[in-house]
Subunit: 334 residues, 2 copies
């Protein structure tokens, strides 16, 4: 049994981490819910008990065995403090993901990388996790030369305030009222915003670079060619991705479907004649990555199209983080 801290316990991801710890009966001896000073004093419920959230500080990690960082500024400020106090840190921020000293882990994809941890393991970006789970069995079977991905990302990826903004702004638009954007740079209700995270090199956003660089690190392939366009859509929860893959060897749609059916963490929903394919409303609240619309790419000799959907607060964040901790404990790598 472990003393477990959750940093950012009041946010969208933090709340989900608490829920996943409870659902999976994670061996929590003592829970220490932490947040910024602004959120300190709020109450959260875990296993039927009410906890008062404390402000994260250098003293918060005394005696903590495992610290989940939900992301945000808390990570940069306190993840290394927690580690130096002896905790295993699972960090959902982007701060350490590309650090060669820090494993970046999706348990179904590169579990062995977790073995080399120095008490700090990074949780990948949500869009990356969701893509790499179905890429992995294809990569292993026939090799992957190039990936072209376009994302359809739900607002919950931007936190609890973003969910509220979509709700209130949608209501306002339906009533013909104004509701100026606060979280997003533009109106998100009944609109699309082709801009997630800040703009960076070559006109790519940081979200797009994350999908490129994190996927390469997780698959241990610096030469994997990837390009991404990331887009915010007016959906509350679960990210979707149109993934186009050029493979090194030929694989039929049927063989890919069978491969994905056997793959850990993947659920194939691919019966278009009966209107069955993955959608955000069916993936929400689930821990698996849903794959459908599996087709050969008619534009190349060796290629596939996949339509991939997963709950980015679950497998894209909280579930993956908790699975990393379970993997480390189970493997005796703590």
């Amino acid at each position: 049994m472990f003393n477990v801290a959750v940093v950012g316990a009041t946010g969208a991801v933090g709340q989900e981490i608490l829920k996943v710890l409870e659902e999976r009966q994670f061996p929590v001896k003592k829970l220490i819910p932490l947040a910024t000073a602004r959120s300190a004093g709020k109450e959260i419920v875990f296993r039927g008990e009410t906890y008062r959230v404390e402000a994260t500080g250098p003293e918060s990690f005394e005696g903590v065995d495992i610290a989940f960082f939900a992301g945000g500024s808390g990570s940069r400020d306190f993840a290394l403090v927690a580690r130096d106090k002896g905790a295993l840190v699972i960090d959902n921020s982007s701060a350490f993901r590309l650090d060669p000293e820090v494993p970046l882990v999706v348990p179904e994809v590169n579990p062995e990388d977790a073995r080399k941890h120095k008490r700090l393991i990074a949780n990948p970006n949500c869009s990356t996790i969701i893509m790499v789970v179905p890429l992995k069995p294809i990569y292993d079977a026939v090799g992957i030369k190039r990936v072209v991905v376009a994302t359809y990302q739900a607002v919950s990826g931007a936190g609890a305030a973003a969910i509220e903004e979509l709700r209130l702004q949608t209501q306002a638009v339906l009533e013909g009222k104004e509701y100026p954007p606060q979280v997003f740079p533009h109106q998100i209700a009944f609109n699309l915003i082709p801009h997630i995270d800040i703009f960076s090199e070559y006109g790519y956003t940081r979200e797009e670079w994350k999908m490129v660089k994190e996927t390469r690190k997780i698959l241990h392939d610096d030469n994997l060619a990837i390009t991404a366009t990331t887009v915010r859509v007016p959906v509350f929860r679960s990210h979707s991705e149109a993934v186009n893959i050029e493979t090194k060897e030929k694989i039929s749609a049927e063989a890919a479907r069978e491969l994905l059916r056997q793959a850990p963490g993947v659920v194939v929903i691919d019966d278009p004649q009966n209107l069955q394919y993955p959608m955000p409303i069916t993936a929400t609240g689930r821990d698996e990555v849903f794959v459908g619309r599996i087709r050969e790419d008619i534009s190349v000799d060796k290629g596939l199209n996949l339509w991939v959907v997963a709950d980015q607060l679950r497998k894209g964040a909280a579930t993956n983080a908790v699975q990393i901790a379970e993997l480390v404990i189970r493997s005796g790598w703590l």
Copy 2:
């Protein structure tokens, strides 16, 4: 001055054709608004005058010079009748688009094709028009080897009832009520449906095949490699597309931007540092195709990513149809 019939005058596209004819001061002598028997008797307003919509029948086209067919079943039943009565037919349905005897025209792209018309010209699919307008200048400048496109299509592409379904269903979901889908196969409010038109060969939808085959016909290039994933999004109006292009010769993002700035029918909005990029809400009601997020594709030697948005009821349907008629008149090809 011409006697002009609009078939499907009460639907989403028909209404827009009437609006565009009025705005562009199309030389209408007499307007004949037509629709199915179900919609006959409804009233529409054109240039301040009220017209009673008639049921389309074999006698409807006597003395008609130009007949716009908004799409739907009216085209298969009456387009050839109208033509045989002597009208120039501009048809927005998919019935004749791939017929080698029928020109498929986007005036900015292949105006010369209209010259060979036999009183029947097809208006391409909305997603095809929106993509091919910015593809054309790139195709001419550096050649195009392959296109990978993922669409984000508004509900108005499915007609007036679909717009109402998004509105009412969104309201219901916000109130925690049920609103079973009628127009769409699944809930569209706060959801995505990776399925437009019916499923066809190789697991592609007919919408996806349209983007492949119509683009090849318009660009006169049967070897152009294209793959598409078409997705319905909870947006009222204007389609968006993430377009990935492999070019034959290298072109920089800046050169592509300049080329597109000069291209007819294109507006470049590409200033991400100032949060400027195309979005459905800014394209709605406009006749141009908006292009932004113009980037070199980092995954290939010669490639580009574009983010393309246009009002599919305007440039994707009504505006393009009226522009075809204007082109034919102006060129003396009537």
